[in-house]
Symmetry: C2
Subunit: 112 residues, 2 copies
DNA sequence: CAGCATCCTAGCTGATACTG
DNA sequence: CAGTATCAGCTAGGATGCTG
């Protein structure tokens, strides 16, 4: 089993960053907010730079933190859909704000 | 010299997270937004769990990313003050939003 | 299709001691 | 006071191959 980040929070900001920090969590939440529901394979295509291991691991963390919902269809071939839970939806404005801030900054630095 | 995080951004959200992610950046920005100006030693006291090395390293990254300003007084004993640049100030709403979200979540989980 | 299992490593983070 | 320098560990993240 993959090691799960240890708990122990210095403050609520620390707590929050441990939940949405990491390399892919923000982007996953963002794409889920845009599409509502995404399958594992779709996420994998959208986050083209992620490995299956990291995708699974990140999704599991988001799930156990109550930010996303994982719906398994008992079919063959398998089908799993991911969507935002309430706690995750509450992060959408924050994610968008950060995205816009990033765009502005990149524009200023002439990266766009 | 300490290694600096490699560049190469997938999108603006990725870019943004590389700038405010990490273990202490959010908290530093937050405290600077509350106090306006803080000296090195004051930050060290407030972020009681940080080592001098990490504090310096994190401050340097924030500085070279244009989020904070470093003002050196040529005195003995030395005095250095840190404050938010414009780009950093623009992150305050986001930081506060995230803090509040964290508090709500912690309350729900009975951690407060 | 949606994942596990295994092995591996870069670089983030830390402890401790020292300095202009 | 405000840092550096050194040494060291951990773990987030990656590569590759296999499976229900």
């Amino acid at each position: 089993m993959t090691k799960i980040k240890q708990s122990g929070y210095v403050c609520s900001l620390d707590y929050a960053f441990q939940r949405v920090g990491g390399k892919y969590k923000g982007r996953i939440i963002w794409h889920l907010s845009e599409e509502n529901v995404l399958r594992y394979g779709e996420l994998r295509k959208i986050l083209w730079d992620i490995t299956p291991k990291m995708l699974t691991q990140t999704l599991r963390e988001l799930e156990s933190d109550g930010l996303i919902h994982r719906k398994v269809y008992l079919e063959v071939p398998p089908k799993v859909e991911y969507s935002l839970e309430e706690a995750g939806k509450e992060l959408i404005p924050f994610i968008n704000y950060l995205r816009e801030w990033g765009e502005t900054q990149m524009a200023k630095e002439g990266m766009i």
